[in-house]
């Protein structure tokens, strides 16, 4: 029987695409999209780049297509709990809302620095970057920042470093790992570190953080990295507190444990999309993975939204190889597949003399089979690898 009411929790990219896909798959019942932020659905990649550099505004980040969505969009409406047996969600404020099918697309939040406040505190010079309000606060603050210390040299940390340099701010980039962008492996990570150094960033690798002090960041070895502002960029945690204590199984990291169709293994009426999903992927030998990329959130939304209109045996699996990109200075890094799972990453083409530099690298497993690819400024080649892996996983 077709579901009468589909409720989607989370009005980001995954939630929006799920709503569009449910309608596209013929859902003609109620469709309710709940967002905890006051903002209508917006795209996040510019938050660490174009928005911080002042090249785009919040209005540029808004997704088009809301006027034709035909869904009830309720903003500033956090969901506090789910009762899977009763098929209801509890809203902040006490209201209870019933559903036939539920899609959890609540995304993730910035992982705090142990011992430091769990929320950003821009007044005290401590930032995190996840949402539009975080980006605005950081962008405003950069105008009066001399030295920015970034704790965590992952994608957000590295992109903010490049954006802050573009605004003339002095930047220190700190990570406990031996290189930035750990998933890309040692050699590409070293090139990335070199890229940041060449742009005047002070790079501190292989050293942890003891505490955030009044004058900057105190490292584990006792040295202080002077800074009048700090960005904590230590990755993200899935927002699944709403499911704590429910019958829906969560992985140790908080992800919703799903099957290949993005359906909860605990309840066929609960699906998930985006950062919160742990699902088995053919590119990871069938093991469950959690992927935080923009493109995966969009693809998950389309799959979960369509699947929510169907009975479990009619649902389709999500098998597309994960794709992400990162823009740092004049380098566009692109990746497909699971380079972090590779036994080695082999550079098959490198043109350092080119301006900007170009590079193609293959991620290979123990048997020498391709499990992913990474390019610097080589979009056409990356698209070829995407096509190749997509055919393999299909």
């Amino acid at each position: 029987m077709a579901p009468t009411r589909i409720v989607i929790v989370g009005a980001g990219l995954a939630g929006l695409r799920a709503a569009q896909a449910a309608r596209g798959a013929g859902h003609d019942g109620e469709l309710i999209l709940l967002g905890d932020e006051p903002h209508a659905p917006y795209t996040r990649p510019p938050l660490s780049k174009e928005l911080l550099k002042g090249e785009q505004t919040a209005a540029d980040c808004a997704f088009p297509g809301l006027e034709t969505l035909d869904a009830e969009l309720r903003l500033s409406t956090p969901v506090t709990g789910v009762d899977a047996a009763a098929h209801t969600v509890s809203l902040d404020g006490g209201e209870t809302l019933g559903y036939d099918r539920l899609i959890v697309a609540t995304g993730s939040r910035a992982r705090p620095l142990p011992g430091a406040p769990s929320r950003p505190d821009p007044e005290r010079g401590v930032h995190m970057l996840r949402g539009l309000d975080d980006a605005r606060a950081l962008s405003d603050a950069l105008a009066r920042t001399e030295r920015l210390a970034i704790v965590g040299a992952g994608f957000v940390g590295c992109e903010v470093a490049a954006s802050a340099r573009a605004r003339g701010v002095r930047v220190a980039l700190i990570d406990i790992a031996a290189q930035p962008l750990v998933p890309l492996g040692a050699e590409l990570g070293a090139r990335c570190a070199q890229l940041h150094r060449a742009h005047g960033v002070e790079v501190h690798l292989g050293v942890g953080v003891r505490e955030l002090g009044g004058d900057g960041v105190v490292l584990a070895d006792g040295t202080t990295v002077a800074a009048d502002r700090v960005l904590v960029a230590l990755g993200a945690l899935p927002n699944t507190e709403l499911l704590a204590g429910s019958a829906i199984e969560l992985a140790p990291d908080g992800a919703v444990v799903c099957d290949a169709t993005l359906t909860s293994v605990s309840d066929p009426d609960v699906l998930a999309a985006g950062d919160v999903v742990a699902w088995p992927h053919p590119g990871a030998a069938g093991e469950r993975v959690r992927v935080e990329h923009w493109t995966t959130a969009a693809e998950h939304g389309r799959v979960a939204g369509a699947n929510a209109t169907r009975e479990p045996e009619e649902r389709t699996a999500h098998v597309t190889p994960p794709y992400f990109w990162s823009d740092q200075y004049d380098v566009k890094i692109q990746s497909v597949g699971f380079p972090a799972r590779a036994e080695r990453i082999e550079i098959v083409e490198s043109d350092d003399a080119a301006q900007p530099p170009r590079l193609v690298a293959e991620a290979l497993d123990f048997a020498g089979e391709l499990v992913g690819a990474v390019t610097f400024n080589h979009a056409r080649r990356l698209a070829e690898y995407r096509r190749r892996l997509a055919v393999e996983y299909a």
Partner: protein, 62 residues
């Protein structure tokens, strides 16, 4: 229908090339090229390209 790409926004992600290879292409220089006048029979794939573009750079004009 007419297909527009805002080349000030396009960053050559190649999403459109993957979902609508008959319409969009990336050259050796990574610059996107595309067919502007597209037959109605390609509408579904072009609409998908609009949806998957991370830069929201593609527009269809009927």
């Amino acid at each position: 229908m007419k297909v527009h790409v805002d080349m000030n926004l396009c960053q050559s992600h190649g999403e459109c090339v993957l979902v609508a290879p008959d319409i969009f292409d990336l050259g050796d220089d990574d610059v996107l090229t595309w067919t502007e006048d597209v037959d109605e029979s390609h509408r579904a794939e072009v609409e998908e390209a609009v949806n998957v573009c991370p830069m929201m750079a593609i527009r269809i004009e009927d």
